[in-house]
Amino acid sequence: MAGGIKMPGEEKKQQKQEFWRWTESNWKNPDLDWNDAKIVTAGIDVGSVSSQAVIVTDGRIFAYSNMRTGSDSPESARNALNYALKGTGLPEDRIDYCIGTGYGRVNVPMADRSITEIACHARGAHFLYGPEVRTVLDVGGQDCKAIHCDGKGKVTDFLMNDKCAAGTGRGMEVFADLLSVPIIEVGDRSFDIEKEPEPVSSTCVVYAKTEATGLLRSGWKVNEVLAAYCSAMAERIYSLIERIGVEERFAITGGMAKNKGVIDRLMKIMNIEPMKTEWDTQIAGAAGAALFANTLVAKGKGRK
């Protein structure tokens, strides 16, 4: 069975469920028609945990997809692009230029070139949140980056977590599975507690799982353990941000931006208000890549 701790005396057979699995999605801009576009570009972000494809027409987001990354990067890229194009009527060969980014960027078969995800996230955040953004926190599946950028979305400085990837998205997925809590409920449930507990002592997934098991056995409620883990992740992420420093204004990209259990606690530690966006925060990298591609084509540096 997938995850979950069976407590002593618990007889009920647990349902086989992948609690970590988040909902894949795609979207098409109802206000845009690709037939009217002069420039059509794509950005494909193949991350360690999720992949996104964003289609941009004349500098505006036309469509996107957000999916899990499989074991095969080229296939993940292909799936993401197909899913973004699905139902749009846009033929793939109409795309003028495509840029790959993310962990698997060199394995995006349809990409004309690749750009690192730090540059793309900065550019994407600049678009999603507006040109005022100066610090971008991207908490991805297996790493965490704090990026400073200028008014054009260009990277001026960055820091990544060191070798250990604790405190990132995949850790939260594993934890959700361990506690049999659907990942989309983690944030809310971590606040459904009487008193904020101490953080677990380590964000290392292996150690945190051991500690969580011990806490449950000693009588902690599942929500309290969730709160303790979210709190530890917030502290871990803060330690990275603290090293680079926050330049106002502050935006968050990546899947973790959707987890209020971590982000609200992080904001409390930082004592600032993050910028808001209506866009899916996971598409920042792919959006940045598609926008870079749009700029290249507009400058006559595209493939056509």
Binding site: Y103, R113, I115, T116, E117, I118, A119, V155, T156, D157, F158, L159, M160, D162, K163
Partner: protein, 439 residues
């Protein structure tokens, strides 16, 4: 089309031969009635040479690095130390060295040659225990002499050169000579000592002059090659063959490369320096930098571990420390000269404050015309990594671009090559560089 002409170093093969010969001499010393000494690369290695021309060294740090370069062998040595009970977070050179003794296997073939005595110095917490344990692992009958060099910073980081600090070290060197006579039963020859001490001065002075030449654009040497050349200072700076090699082969050749504009990296677009020892099993990361047109021209580590410099705080510049005007004529004079010479070593100064190291790195960045600095958060060496995060902040404050990566000089289990190269990609791209294959 390459931007600059390049060609291999003519003295490369000689360097390789000299190094291997040196390791063989240590191994075969007993067959010729000679003595074997083990100790740190930082040790005053000229002192035991007064016991005779048949005294041969092995120094633990370059030996540990050689082990680390051979990943399967290193894994075996590291496992042996852990099985013995040593902690995994200790100095990885030291663990490779101890593992070599525990497995009774010399990294260059055969059994590990047992030393007749250990002669070393206290620099960091690891060095305080390294040879104590090595002597015990060898059976407990290997005598150990340790010189304490914790005498305080040198000028300009101290207001002046304090005589009592020099005397503190020089007196220990004097005492150690009596100790060596006692444990080896040999009579000490001051003439041999003076000769070896002068070779020490020659090689460390010349190495600094060689490093100065790397200020040229294009750089005549890249740091991956520098590692194979600076190593002679770490193997045995008082070795006459090594001092001659620096003076007669390497220095003239590098000078000639500068005169003719010969580049180490023909597509040199940007220049960086690193810090602390690299992950020895993964020197290919330097070749990876080259694919971005980036040459690492050296570091405070490669320049200042065995090179002797004078640092000018006001001008923010280094000059090779001039050799003493007169050769020593007495044992006391020679010990004093050595103590004074080595206490100014740049790599000693950061032990007293990370700010000193930041100042020196800032000076290198300016004078060696660097575009960025790459710091290795080296889990394998507490001594040289101490304060490195503060160095990063200090360098950022002075306007430098700084990248850090985490690894271990001698334990491959703590290094992720792919993740490190990914970091390089992001950093170099943010500097406006393009990978060669994408140009």
């Amino acid at each position: 089309m390459a931007k600059y002409p390049t060609e291999p170093l003519k003295c490369w093969n000689k360097a390789k031969e000299l190094r291997m010969e040196w390791y063989r001499e240590f191994e075969q010393a007993h067959e010729k009635g000679g003595l074997r000494v083990m100790g740190s690369a930082w040790a005053f290695d000229c002192i035991p040479l007064g016991l005779g021309r048949d005294v041969h060294w092995v120094t633990g740090e370059p030996y540990g690095a050689s082990c680390a370069f051979n990943k399967p062998l290193s894994a075996k040595f590291l496992a042996a130390t852990e099985n013995y009970g040593f902690a995994r977070d200790l100095c990885s050179y030291m663990r490779n060295y101890w593992g070599s003794i525990l497995c009774d296997e010399y990294a260059f073939g055969g059994k590990f040659p047992k030393a007749d005595f250990a002669y070393t110095q206290h620099i960091c917490c690891s060095h305080a225990k390294w040879y104590q344990n090595a002597c015990e692992l060898e059976g407990g009958d290997v005598p150990l002499c340790v010189i304490d060099v914790g005498a305080g910073p040198y000028t300009p980081f101290a207001p002046k050169v304090y005589e009592h600090r020099i005397k503190y070290v020089a007196d220990q060197l004097m005492d150690s000579i009596d100790w060596m006579e006692e444990v080896t039963g040999r009579e000490y020859n001051d003439e041999l000592f003076f000769e070896a001490a002068w070779n020490d001065i020659r090689s460390t002075h010349t190495w600094a002059k060689i490093c100065m030449l790397n200020r040229a654009v294009p750089a005549p040497l890249d740091e991956k090659s520098i590692y194979s050349l600076y190593v002679f200072g770490t193997l045995q700076k008082s070795n006459a063959k090594f001092a001659d090699f620096y003076e007669n082969d390497l220095l003239p050749e590098v000078r000639d490369r500068v005169d003719r504009g010969i580049a180490a990296v023909p597509n040199e677009q940007a220049r960086v320096m690193t810090d602390t020892q690299p992950p020895w099993g993964f020197l290919s990361i330097y070749r990876y930098l080259e694919s971005w047109g980036v040459v690492s021209v050296g570091s405070l580590y490669t320049f200042g571990l065995e090179g002797m410099w004078l640092f000018d705080k006001e001008k923010k510049d280094f000059v090779p420390r001039p050799m003493p005007e007169n050769r020593p004529e007495t044992r006391e004079e020679c010990c004093r000269m050595l103590a004074d010479w080595h206490l100014c070593k740049p790599e000693y100064q950061h032990y007293y404050s990370p700010e000193y190291k930041t100042q020196m790195m800032d000076a290198i960045a300016k004078n060696w015309k660097l575009n960025a600095i790459i710091l290795h958060y080296n889990r394998g060496c507490e001594g040289l990594s101490v304060g490195i995060a503060e160095n990063r902040l200090g360098l950022l404050k002075r306007g430098h671009k700084v990248l850090t990566y985490e690894g271990n000089m001698g334990d491959e289990r703590e290094f992720d090559k792919e993740a490190t190269q990914k970091r390089f990609d992001i950093f170099l791209e943010s500097m406006g560089l393009t990978k060669q294959e994408e140009r």
